[in-house]
């Protein structure tokens, strides 16, 4: 067995910030994945087990092809929304890390 690591536990402030960020990311990721990948799985089930998606929309275009094409803008919208949220998380991450660095410096000066 590998010897236990010697790394100290991260500070309570960092743990709390990481936990909040992780929860917020999940709150965004779960619905986004359900809409995109979940939607794709639903289309697959409908296309595999039924013929409802073979219905014509216009000319040769049927519902299955239309939904497949619509999958592309859905992914694009998810990416744009995610990037906006992630920019806010980046800003908060930088603030948390700057505060942690300041606390380290103060601790070092006090020593």
């Amino acid at each position: 067995m590998t010897p236990p690591p010697e790394d100290p536990a991260p500070s309570a402030e960092l743990v709390a910030a990481a936990r909040t960020l992780s929860a917020e990311r999940l709150r965004f990721a779960v619905p986004a994945c359900l809409v995109s990948f979940g939607g794709f799985v639903v289309i697959t089930v409908l296309a595999g087990f039924t013929t409802v998606l073979n219905v014509t929309v216009v000319g040769p275009l049927n519902l299955l092809t239309l939904l497949m094409v619509l999958g592309f803008p859905v992914v694009g919208v998810c990416a744009v929304l995610y990037s906006r949220r992630a920019a806010e998380w980046d800003r908060r991450t930088e603030e948390v890390l700057a505060a942690a660095r300041r606390a380290e410096l103060e601790k070092a000066e006090a020593r």
Binding site: M1, T2, P3, P4, P5, E6, D7, P8, A9, P10, L14, V15, A17, A18, R19, L21, S22, R25, L26, F28, A29, A32, C33, S36, F37, G39, F40, V41, T44, V45, A47, G48, F49, T50, T51, L53, N54, V58, G59, P60, L61, N62, L64, T65, M68, G71, F72, V74, V75, G76, C78, A79, Y82, S83, A86, D90, T93, V96, L97, A100
Partner: protein, 510 residues
Amino acid sequence: MSASPLTLGIFAAVIALTMGITFWAGRRNHGAGEHYVAGGQLTGRQNGLAIVGDLVSAAAFLGTVGMVALKGASAWFYVVGPFVAFVILLTVLAEPLRNLGRFTMADVVASRFRSRGVRASMAVNSLLVTVFYMISQLVAAGALISLLLGIPYWVAVIVVGILMTIYIAVGGMLATSWIQIVKAVMVLVCIALLFVLVLARYDFNPLALMQAASDASSFDLFATTAGALSGLNTLSVAIAVGLGTAALPHILIRFLTVPDVKEARKSMNFALVFVGFAFLVIPFIGYGAVSIVGQQAITQADKGGNLTTLQLSGVVGGPVFFAIVAAVTFATILAVVAGLVIAGSGALAHDLYNSILRKGRASEREQIYAGRIAALAVAVVAIVISLAAHNTNVSSLGAMAVVVAASANVPVLLLLLFWKRLTTTGVISGIVAGLTSAVVLILVGPQVMGPDAWYPLVYPTLVSVPLGFLGCWAGTVLSRPRPDESSFEAMQVQAQLGVRPAGEPAAAGH
């Protein structure tokens, strides 16, 4: 088919260009960080284009166009599946992987679970996925290049094998990345030109193109057939190509080649635009092939339809465009196998040799040397098996790669990031359950056993992915945490904030 001097000349130019990139990169390939992850110094846009190169492979450029022409609507699942999986990669995996990893996928898992068993099982899993995928690429490449250039199959395989070994041994990840970038630009230009040339014949009206394809097709090109078995097969294919493509090691290690999470996100967004464009127009190029080339001519050239893109490019663009598309196909194959060699050699040299056998004590020089030897070893094994597997069905090997990636990597990575109780035993049992169930079910499935198959579905993801999760759960509840496990909180701090524990080696680029 024998090659024209023009085709041969453009093939030679592609080899010269990739060799030039390799020796340029070789002068910058000094340490293990440069060798495995390009020093973590690629920009988001560069890495994004390299991801485009990885995803728009010969399978997509040639295989999917042929599949649309010969199988119709079901081909859409092969382009939409990997594309919607982008959302999982972007929102869940890309940024934590960038913060947790160093050179390989095993590094990511070892950031929380430091046992040698975890690293070894993840490394063996990555190695198997990579070699399965590489053999399927090499066999397809050998058959295609021998057909295009009129050379024997074994010569084509050995030429591709030698080139990919030189790329990695000399230029490492930097060479691989730049070859992917150049190839991505070339393949995107070819796809755009082909799409415009096809659409121009129908007054730039996609509905008119679809109608012409529908009229020319011998079956309903846009409808699917419903049924219990076909439904389960469609669902298992969709999950395999979606989750599996997103979890292939040579795609995931791309996030370790950029300096921080912002660049990892930028590379995903950049890739998303161009992969989206390519995957959206590829089915329409397939419709063009049906209406312009015809299904009979397509099956006469190759029963699997793998030459459809080349046939169509010759008809709509003439011999010069045909030669360019053929050479870009060659570049595509070279770039993808090079990416696979670096992923496989990293698992062998960095995880199994340096981290386990040498307990992380190998010097920078020894690590580079081991990386080069590992690249040679991975390439030789893949070449020898590919030569022996000439007349076998290689699609089962390609399927094994994506199914194992979906069944072993996805459960472990998701639970590593979000399940506090996961233990070392849980990780190992999850990998073993996902890997073995995927391989066994493919071996007893229709791809290998034909009509006498014991398991009815072509892709076993409907069983093997849940078994991967079940393995993680069962291993966890039946075991206790080990003292060498890092806390879930420490992993979260590293994954979310990029703060590595004291004593941990920094990621490349820091």
